[in-house]
């Protein structure tokens, strides 16, 4: 049964990928990319990778189609046919494919319990993490403690991306410059959207907090929580206008918080350095090593959550602010309605994944 599900999902993924490659309408491609993300999240679920499925649902089916749609709103949705590069592409892709096929020749069978990947390092995590770290979610143990430094790198990557987008899309004069256009038209006048958005935002935030602090026991953690938290803000921004959401969290504040999250994570590491242990050795944080691990993991997950939420909100601000620069004039209201559906789906997918 499980195998059947697996085969069906992968076949669907393949079909989706092929149709993305073939379709000329970019908006349809973006939506198919969202479906692709959702399907792969489903696949990860069947593979038992619940944390990954959660993240992929939030990113692959949520944030990334949202950003693509925002980009398309600025760049147009039609693609011109271009057959020139097809031969070159085939010429490059076929050897890669051949190499990959050759590589499968000596691979261990799928799902084998005695494959080398399952034998060497991983058993230690499964058998020892309860004694050494004391939390049931092994993925969180490995993520936050055994390989906590990778996760620090991951937070810095997100921070870098936020800064990169900032450096690309910020106005030349300054960062906090007020927008030129009058605001009256900026918010959706649709009563249904406004009411539902108001009703939903509080539970979304609550859910984000739940995911943030439940990561030790179930799927979830700082990254997923940060994304959901940001989604709450994005929904607010989409319905009530960019200015309204900026009044809640100004651009400068968001920028500041994105740095603070990284600093929190790093400071935990520096604390353990200061007490003579290795960088990010949480056992230095309390007299009992296991409770030290607990404290450390909660602290760094908080750092991750803050940075991720801040960067996602910042990226949304920057992309959305670009829409106002459109020479065609204010196109905010329809845009809100257009992308709101995407957000609603996104939020529901996240809920489903949780």
């Amino acid at each position: 049964m499980e195998l059947l599900l697996d085969i069906a999902l992968l076949a669907l993924l393949l079909i989706t990928a092929i149709s993305i490659a073939g379709i000329k309408d970019l908006l349809a491609a973006a939506m198919l990319a969202g479906i692709y993300g959702l399907l792969s999240a489903g696949f990860f679920m069947t593979m038992g990778a619940v944390d990954v499925a959660f993240t992929e649902a939030a990113v692959g089916a949520g944030i990334s189609p949202l950003l693509i749609v925002l980009t398309l709103a600025l760049c147009g949705r039609q693609q011109r046919g271009d057959r020139q590069r097809a031969m070159l592409a085939l010429f490059l892709v076929l050897p890669v494919g051949a190499l990959l096929i050759v590589a499968t020749h000596d691979m261990p069978a799928f799902g084998a319990a005695d494959a080398p990947a399952q034998m060497h390092v991983a058993p230690h995590y499964i058998q020892q993490s309860m004694a050494e770290i004391g939390i049931p979610n092994i993925v969180t143990s490995v993520l936050a403690s055994y390989r906590g430094y990778d996760t620090f790198g991951e937070v810095v990557v997100i921070f870098t991306a936020g800064l990169g987008v900032l450096s690309l899309l910020m106005r030349s004069q300054g960062i906090d410059e007020p927008t030129v256009e009058p605001a009256p038209n900026a918010q959706s006048r649709d009563i249904v959207l406004r009411v539902i958005a108001k009703v939903l935002i509080a539970p979304i935030m609550l859910y984000a907090l739940y995911v943030q602090f439940h990561g030790e026991y179930g799927p979830g953690g700082g990254f997923q929580a940060g994304v959901i938290f940001a989604v709450g803000f994005i929904l607010y921004g989409l319905v009530f206008g960019l200015d309204a959401v900026r009044r809640v969290a100004s651009h400068g504040l968001v920028q500041f918080l994105s740095a603070v999250g990284v600093l929190i994570y790093g400071s935990v590491g520096l604390l353990s350095l200061a007490s003579g242990k290795s960088f990010l050795d949480y056992s230095a944080l309390a007299s009992n090593p296991v409770s030290g691990q607990h404290i450390g993991i909660i602290a760094i997950e908080l750092g991750v959550g803050i940075t991720v939420a801040a960067v996602m909100i910042m990226i949304f601000y920057l992309f959305a602010a670009q829409l106002r620069l459109q020479p065609r004039g204010p196109s905010l209201t329809p845009d809100h309605q257009g992308t709101d559906a995407g957000t609603a789906h996104l939020a529901s997918q996240q809920q489903g994944a949780g």
Partner: protein, 491 residues
């Protein structure tokens, strides 16, 4: 605190980057960045001393032992590369304030320095780590910040160059990720030393072979080895001058380090050079790269672009050194790593001064510069001579070792081609000399480049001369590092 040096090396700039956003004022941020860079330089000097005195250092991050946690492992090779990266970054940053305040608008300067620090930290992280997946993470930190830094260039082409680099770089990084995945699948570990212990038993496995191929191609994309170099000239010629100087002096060096680390330490000399025809491939690609890139360089009107192609050619020399596959040849590669960083750092900084005064770096800007900007022009000429490989400059030292290694292995044709390649360098450097010294200045009022840029540029150029005469330090360190790679690699 001395035992924490390996992590401090990376964590200093990494933590300093978000702090920049909190400081906010561009001048202060520059000062702060500069201090951090010099602190990192001090750390790397201490590290090199420690490693030289007492052998490789291993640092367990999070207090978890090696195959389970992430390990930093500093040996002579990475200590050497760390020193190069931090030293060049410090020199480039000294010049940054003058150049950046001219080339970038005030609002973007803070973000610029933050991204610079992130890129710097990413490069250091790649070099310091002993964990294959950690390499990928830090590779992405440095890459993402590099894309953003390049896109800060004033010309709109900077955007397109950055996009092209982003696509190629991401494909490269994903290839590396695939390779690491294959390795993990076959061995169950991500630690480099642990991988090195497992791979000899698996050398017949096609999966490991494919892993090697993917990692090799992925790194070569980042390294801009000849047929995969297409992103480099655009990226270098469109980026802000300081970014070009920094990337040319450090980024490709780190990619080359990664190539050495994977071929020699992880896969082992036996696997990479004996088992596979990698030596022929590398010599071939390297030499073709030298000739193709040098020839194209001769016809470039934009001098930044010309030097970018020259970088591709110089990478060719380094790769030839790996391909010859002896300790001497490897030493030549490691020497050239250092020397090329000095040359290109100095040359691109001098160009930054030129751009500061003239607003561009096309060949017509050079007319008569020998008279109007004598010091800047002199720096460029000395750097160019070093690039050609004339005696008394560092360029000579590394080429000498390379030719000696080729002759040692009876590869006469390689030696001859290396010399011929240098002649092509004469051709493109001569164009500058001719324009600057044998033509009339278009505009007599042009002033010398500001001291803020000229001094660091001359510092690097002087280093070109100094290490060309007193070769003890680099030769000693690289000899030991090359020995270490050949001796300590295959267990």
């Amino acid at each position: 605190m001395l035992s924490h040096l390996p992590i401090l090396q990376v964590i200093l700039p990494l933590m300093a980057a978000p702090s920049c956003l909190i400081i906010r004022k561009a001048n202060l941020v520059w000062l702060f960045t500069l201090m951090v860079s010099f602190a990192a330089l001090a750390v790397s000097i201490l590290l090199l001393q420690q490693v030289h005195a007492s052998g490789p250092i291993s640092y367990q991050l999070g207090g978890w032992n090696a195959p389970w946690g992430i390990e930093y492992r500093i040996d002579l090779l990475n200590a050497w590369v760390l020193l190069i990266v931090t030293a060049l970054s410090s020199a480039v940053l000294t010049a940054a304030h003058t150049s950046v305040s001219r080339e970038l608008e005030a609002g973007r300067q803070t973000v610029f320095y933050t991204l610079y620090l992130l890129c710097f930290a990413g490069l250091l992280g790649i070099v310091a780590t002993g964990d294959a997946f950690n390499v990928f993470v830090f590779l992405e930190i440095s890459s993402l910040s590099t894309y953003a830094l390049i896109a800060l260039g004033r010309d709109r082409r900077a955007l397109w160059a950055s996009f092209q680099y982003l696509i190629m770089g991401t494909i490269g990084a994903t290839f590396i990720l695939i390779g690491i995945g294959f390795l993990y699948m076959m061995t169950g570990t991500l630690n480099m030393a642990d991988l090195a212990a497992h791979i000899p038993a698996l050398s017949e496995s096609t999966t490991v072979l494919a892993a090697f191929a993917f990692i090799f191609v992925g790194i070569c994309l980042k390294l801009a080895l000849f047929p995969l170099h297409l992103w480099l000239p655009n990226a270098y010629s469109c980026a802000p001058s300081i970014v070009t100087a920094f990337l040319a002096a450090t980024a490709t060096k780190v990619a080359l380090y990664l190539l050495l680390r994977f071929t020699f330490t992880v896969f082992g000399v036996d696997f990479s050079l004996s088992h596979l025809p990698l030596d022929t491939l590398l010599i071939g690609l390297g030499l073709v790269g030298v000739f193709a890139a040098s020839t194209v360089a001769i016809y470039q009107a934009n001098i930044k672009r010309m030097l970018a192609f020259s970088s591709v050619a110089q990478i060719g020399y380094m790769v030839v050194g790996i391909g010859i596959g002896t300790a001497t040849a490897l030493q030549a590669t490691l020497l050239h790593l250092f020397n090329h960083a000095l040359m290109k750092g100095g040359l691109f900084l001098a160009l930054a001064g030129l751009v500061y005064q003239l607003g561009g770096s096309r060949i017509e800007h050079f007319l008569g510069l020998g008279r109007t900007m004598p010091w800047t022009m002199a720096a460029i000429v000395v750097g160019g001579i070093s690039l050609i490989g004339m005696p008394l400059t560092v360029g000579f030292v590394s080429k000498w070792y390379l030719i000696a290694a080729a002759i040692e292995q009876q590869l006469w044709w390689v030696a001859v081609l290396v010399v011929l390649g240098s002649l092509l360098a004469v051709a493109y450097i001569w164009r500058l000399v001719e324009a600057a010294y044998f033509q009339r200045p278009v505009n007599d009022t042009v002033k010398e480049a500001p001291l803020g840029i000229l001094l660091p540029a001359w510092l690097l150029i002087a280093a070109n001369l100094y290490f060309g005469i007193d070769t003890r330090l680099p030769v000693e360190v690289t000899a030991a590092a090359a020995q270490f790679l050949f001796g300590g690699a295959a267990p």
